[in-house]
Every structure is written in C-alpha cells, then in structure tokens.
C-alpha cells in the first residue's frame, strides 16, 4: 500500500474543483448537459487522470496505456474537462462542446475526441467492453489495466450484469469497476425507481471483490485503487458512495439537476460555492 502525501490529496482536490467549475460553465454556456452526475464523479476522475492511470496525453494510442471507460456517458462534460486539463486537447475546446463541427459530442465519441477510449451514451455497456479489453491484453501484450466508471443507472441494465457474469468467468482481475453510487437518477431516487440494494452482496455474489468507500474522499479513492491492483484472482468493484450534484448546495441529492441548466443567478451562486468548496 502506497502512502499518499497530503500534497497529492490537495492537488487532486483542486483538480476535482476545476472539473466541477468547467462542467458548470460548459453546461451553462451550452444550455444542455448533466451537472449532477458529473459532479458526483469529479474526485474519481481527478484521481484516475491525474494520478492512477498510466497514460501519455501526447500519445493517446500508446499501446501500454491503461484504459478508462466512462460507462455513464452522460458525465461527458466531466470527462472532457479531465482530458483537456490533462493535456489531451486545448482547454478552449471545452467552449465548443456540442457545437456543429466540434469534436466534443453530447456524449463521448472515441472517433472524434482524443483520449476517449470508447463511445458511450446509453447506460451499461462499459463493463462488458472492459471484459473484452481485458481478454485482448491477455492474448496480445502489452498488458494494461482497465478501469470502468459505472453509474447506479448502469447497474439497472441487464447488459451490465451480463458483463459481470463474464468478468467473473474470466477472473478479470485486470479490470476495476468504479461504481458512482449517487442513488439519484433522471426520474428520482434510484432506491425508489429501481432499488439496487443489497448492491455489495450482489457484486460479491457475482464474483467480485468489493471495496466500499466515500467517493468524494480522495484518500479513500486512492487507497481503494491501490488495493484493487493487489487482488489477482477476481475483478474488483469500488462502490463509491457519492452525492449527486456534490459541491453545489442546491444541486445536491436532487433528480432535478440530473440534466438541468442553471440560470444566471444559479450559475453565479454555484460558481461561488464551488470556489469555496472544501472536500
């Protein structure tokens, strides 16, 4: 287990703050997007792109790179911010998200956007795609690790559980699932719309090693990511308990901000809150 210095935690918290500020501005400018589910995974994206992933933004197709799949494609703005801030493309490109001719689509497009490993949009595909990547690197080195960020919505889809069956069959320890469990989806609370509990028991029953964390606690995220790499007999899921809309008081824990756009006053207030937010 690595010791993670306070300076790293501080640095990643600042990245997460920047991701949220970018997402807020992108959604406000474009008058479309998904702030709630982008905010709930900001710390995880910061930890992955600015610490964990073995990547080189100058070589998006470097064969040895770790793979990251955003199965919850509606968090596209957060992914775009992480990629831009990490150097895959100019930060100014974020201003043209969703414009005709721009490379940043409403949901991630692997053909158009450097650094996007897989196109996504409809929920649930990522785990099965990750199983395929895992099998591929066994057959054809170099070896790499695959990370997939799922939402609670992803885990309501049948294809996700089919993917879990396959991950267990092939003892896919070279993949780590991060489940952004904010418990809020488009129409309301996930526990009302289609309950997932007992989710940890379900993952265990499907053959996964389960780590449960607070998904906004960077130290817990980093430790969980390290632990997952030490498990060599089965795939790992990090169940990250998160808050939808985290960081903006009036967006937190409400389905309304799954796919809503702030007005001028809300934008100013949200910006002020995010600038003062301490993880």
């Amino acid at each position: 287990m690595h010791h993670h210095p306070e300076s790293l935690i501080y640095e990643l918290a600042e990245v997460a703050r920047q991701i949220r500020l970018d997402v807020l501005e992108m959604v406000y400018r474009r008058k479309a997007g998904h702030p709630g589910g982008s905010f709930s995974c900001a710390e995880m994206l910061a930890a992955l792109y600015f610490h964990q992933l073995k990547i080189d933004p100058a070589r998006p197709d470097w064969a040895e790179r770790d793979r990251f799949l955003l199965s919850k494609g509606h968090a596209a703005a957060a992914l775009y911010s992480a990629l831009a801030r990490r150097g895959y493309f100019p930060v100014e490109d974020l201003e043209r998200w969703g414009h005709l001719g721009a490379h940043l689509q409403g949901h991630p497009d692997r053909i158009k956007t450097p650094g996007v490993e897989m196109s996504s949009g409809f929920l649930g595909h990522g785990l099965s795609v990750a199983v395929g990547l895992t099998l591929a690197q066994r057959l054809k080195p170099p070896r790499y690790h695959t990370y997939v960020l799922m939402s609670d919505g992803c885990m309501q889809s049948g294809v996700a559980w089919e993917g879990a069956l396959a991950a267990a069959k092939y003892r896919a320890s070279e993949l780590t699932v991060l489940m952004d469990y904010n418990d809020v989806q488009l129409d309301g609370a996930a526990h009302d719309i289609m309950p997932l509990e007992p989710i940890a028991a379900k993952w265990r029953a499907f053959g996964f090693s389960v780590i449960e964390i607070n998904g906004h606690n960077l130290r817990q995220i980093l430790e969980a990511l390290d632990m997952a790499l030490e498990i060599h007999s089965m795939p790992t899921v990090i169940i990250a308990h998160t808050t939808k809309g985290k960081g903006v008081s009036f967006m937190e824990n409400t389905a309304k901000w799954h796919g809503a756009v702030p007005n001028d006053a809300e934008f100013a207030l949200a910006q002020a809150e995010l600038r003062g937010y301490q993880a």
Partner: protein, 314 residues
C-alpha cells in the same frame, strides 16, 4: 445443391483461417455447435470465448476485444444477434466503429424446424440502416468461405448472415470476392434477376426456365448489400429495363429496398420483389418446401419476371 450446409462451410473456413491469422478470436453465445464455430473452438480454445446466453454483452465484449487489437468474429443466430443486441451493435460497433465481425447464423427461414422466433427475416433491414456497417450475404458455400479472410482483413465493422441449410452451389473454387462488388453470374438482355444469399441459386434456376420461354435473363449476385454495387445495378437497369430482386428476407428493408433506392432517383425502372411478405411465416418440414410455401421459389421469380416484363412494355 451443395453437399454440406452453408454454416459448415463457414465454420470450416473460420477454423482454417484461425491458423493463418492469430489475431482472430471467436465468440459465440452457447450455439457454437449450431453455428459451427465449434470447429474453431476445438482447434484454438485459447482464442474462443463461449459467452453463454448473453448476446448483448457478447457484442460489447467483442467491441472491447477489437479495441484491444484482436479481430473478433461474434456469432449467434442472426435474429438473436441483430434483435437482442441491436443497441449494442448500434452504439458499440457501428457508431464506435470497432473492428467487429458480426456473423448471424440461421439466416432467413433456414432454421425451418424451429419456427418464426428463430427466423431472421429483418436482420438485413436493421443492419443496413446502421451507418459504418458493411452488410454481407454470401450466395453459396464458396462465397461463405471466401468471405472469412475478406472480412478479417477489412478494417471496420461487418455483419454477415449465413444459412443454416445447404444452399444451391453457384460458384466454383476459382471465384473471388471483393466487398462492395456485385457479380454477374449469367449474362442476359431482357431482364435482370438480382439475388442475394441463398436466393442467387434460385435466380439461376429461374433464368434457365425463362430461357426456355425465349427470355434472356441476366443474373446478378449481390453478396454485399451495403455498400451496394450501385453501378452494376444501374447498368443492368439501363441495359435490360426491368428487374426482379430475390432475397430470403422480408421485402421491407432488404435487397429489394436497396435496389429500389439505387434506381428510384436516377433511373426509375420496373422492379418486382421476391421475398417474405410482411409476415412471420411458419414452421416447416424442410427449408426448401418452406421457402417455396413463403413465395421464395424459382417459380415465384419467374412469375415476378413475367410481371416486370409486362410493366416494361407498358
């Protein structure tokens, strides 16, 4: 009629090509003994993945394998593949442009004994409407075998349908295929019979019957339904002035629709459609009598040609 079913020709070819191209991996959804990918599985167990009855996930796993540099052939019954995994094909194969080779066995009515749930009569319509996807229906066993390396060496996603049944032989072993290039099987100047898949052989039989009536029918074999060989079809329309399309598929959205789309805008020409009417069909005792009962017989092609010729003369 060929001595072995088309699926066997495909299965044998896939296993043989597996020895040549080590990037090829094969996935199946618990029907490898039916699609006959089991030949590949027996020879290359390390490159064969039996995914069980997880068709949707299997397509996504295939996409992941392709992203990792493998060349996955993803197999199950055509109806299951294109219906149950339709969104996976749309999002993770066609839209994401992953190098996945989708192979649907049991095309058309060829699984006569299992009935309408198992028939694939709208797979071409669905797959043809997917941008980026090449759609292939080999005419016979020679083409089915030739397509294996052609698909593998094509950089991009492909859907190929394969018959469960023995289909009429059309080509000899000197035949070659190029994706997107139709084949003139038989010359003729009065009318053109355009066939795909197992219907090409029946078009040849129909052309022979028409010849006895003094009608010279050209036969085109369209193994690539998309991109369609528009030039070959427009030339045939221009030179013969009437066409019949014949497919082991619904008349909605398949070869007939593609041919009509190719002609309507620039060269309106009488076209008659031989295919499955807007029906689920029914269980039969053997593939050929079922196809005949569903309007897919050589006699149906002859009758359609007669109608097209009458419209041509008007």
């Amino acid at each position: 009629m060929s001595e072995i079913p088309q699926r066997q020709a495909y299965g044998v070819a896939l296993a043989e090509y597996g020895a040549v191209n080590h990037d090829v991996v094969v996935l199946d959804a618990d029907v490898s003994s039916s699609t006959l990918t089991k030949y590949f599985a027996d020879r290359f167990p390390g490159r064969f993945f039996n995914m069980g009855v997880t068709e949707a996930s299997m397509v996504d796993v295939g996409a992941g394998l392709a992203l990792g540099g493998a060349i996955p052939f993803v197999n199950t019954f055509a109806a299951l593949l294109t219906l149950r995994a339709c969104e996976q094909i749309r999002t993770c194969v066609a839209y994401a442009h992953t190098n996945v080779k989708l192979v649907g066995g049991y095309s058309g009515l060829s699984d006569y004994k299992d009935g309408p749930t198992h028939f694939a009569t709208n797979d071409v319509a669905l797959m043809r409407a997917m941008p980026n996807l090449v759609v292939v229906a080999p005419a016979d066993n020679v083409e089915a075998a030739l397509m294996v390396p052609v698909l593998a060496e094509h950089d991009g996603p492909v859907y190929m349908r394969i018959s469960r049944a023995a289909v009429p032989d059309v080509f000899n072993t000197a035949h070659t295929v190029r994706l997107g290039q139709g084949v003139t099987v038989r010359p003729g100047g009065d009318i053109t019979l355009v066939g795909s898949g197992s219907m090409v052989g029946r078009c040849v039989l129909a052309a022979q019957a028409l010849a006895e009536q003094g009608i010279s029918a050209r036969v085109l074999s369209i193994h690539t339904l998309k991109p369609l060989d528009v030039e070959l079809i427009q030339q045939a329309a221009d030179e013969t002035g009437a066409l019949v399309t014949a497919e082991d598929h619904s008349i909605i959205g398949g070869l007939g629709s593609a041919v009509a789309e190719a002609l309507a805008g620039c060269l309106p020409t009488p076209v008659e459609f031989v295919g499955i009417r807007d029906t689920f069909a029914e269980t039969g005792l053997d593939p050929d009598s079922l196809m005949d009962a569903c309007g897919l017989g050589a006699g149906d092609i002859v009758a359609a040609a007669t109608r097209a010729l009458q419209r041509k003369r008007c």
